[in-house]
Symmetry: C2
Subunit: 182 residues, 2 copies
């Protein structure tokens, strides 16, 4: 009887311990994140807080339905790869494209000799490319996300078009549109 009670206590302890371990395991292996924690669909890319402090890679302007003016920034890993000409980009490289409405500036034009000045208007969206060759082997090692007002665009069709377009670029560019501007 005494032995049985002891065995029972050990079994209960083992059960409790394994339950705790399971909870621990679940906590350590977080499930795939969706909208709730602001990650992009499919790639689960999050916008780092510091992205607005990253360094300038270059600028561009798109007409047509986009009608925007844009800046492309990179984290330290990406910018160093650009400056050294390293391709493919090393894992950890992050390239962010900020875009704003392309709009004529009446204020500037009043000062300049002729109407000629276009500036950044309201922000449109922010797109982020993250290099992780192990995590994204089927998309050239790149994961993609789009963010509007800081929130991940939830429609999976949006990020699905990213690599469809980037993959048309020459592989030597590592599927990246922007060149570094001195």
């Amino acid at each position: 009887m005494k032995r049985a009670r002891r065995a029972d206590t050990i079994a209960k302890f083992a059960l409790a311990t394994s339950a705790l371990l399971c909870v621990g395991a679940v906590a350590a292996r977080r499930p795939p994140v969706e909208k709730a924690d602001n990650a992009s669909p499919i790639f689960h890319v999050r916008l780092p807080k510091a992205y607005r402090d990253w360094q300038l890679i270059s600028v561009a302007q798109e007409n047509g339905s986009l009608n925007d003016i844009r800046a492309i920034l990179g984290n330290r890993t990406a910018v160093e790869a650009y400056r050294r000409g390293t391709r493919p980009f090393p894992d950890g490289s992050k390239i962010v494209r900020l875009a704003w409405r392309y709009q004529s500036s009446a204020r500037n034009d009043a000062v300049f000799p002729t109407p000629q000045s276009f500036v950044a208007g309201a922000p449109t969206n922010v797109q982020l490319s993250v290099k992780n060759s192990k995590r994204y082997p089927t998309t050239g090692g790149w994961g993609y996300g789009q963010f509007e007002g800081g929130k991940a665009t939830a429609d999976p069709a949006v990020v699905r078009t990213c690599f469809a377009c980037h993959s048309k670029l020459e592989p030597a560019s590592d599927y990246v549109f922007t060149s570094y501007s001195e």
Copy 2:
């Protein structure tokens, strides 16, 4: 005779000492710098080595004779003033405008649904505004410089036009064209 020799020695010592002090004074009070040490004329503004690492303020595009696309970056003091809405900008603020030829991108247009893409071509010049209210009291506290290929543009007429144009802006903007883009 002995007294005369002593007086002569003292005089020689005094002369040597004052000559040394003069050399020291010249070294401490460097003459106004021109082309030789790559400072702009009139304002003697130099381009800091780290400017290409500064943070993005905004982007713009100019047509007409300029025909460029540009990025405006700021040092930490300037960017913090922008983010906090501090005007006038505190002394030590530095704002740099990089510009490149505004050019159509055949590479991007081959991938996009319609021809629409413009990118940064060859660099044109870099213009720097430095806030120092004590040093530049007659130009709103701003000193100006222009640099081509890293070298200060030597023609004083170029920097003379800077404040002539900036001074047409409303004083509440502290004579700065660019607004911060989120």
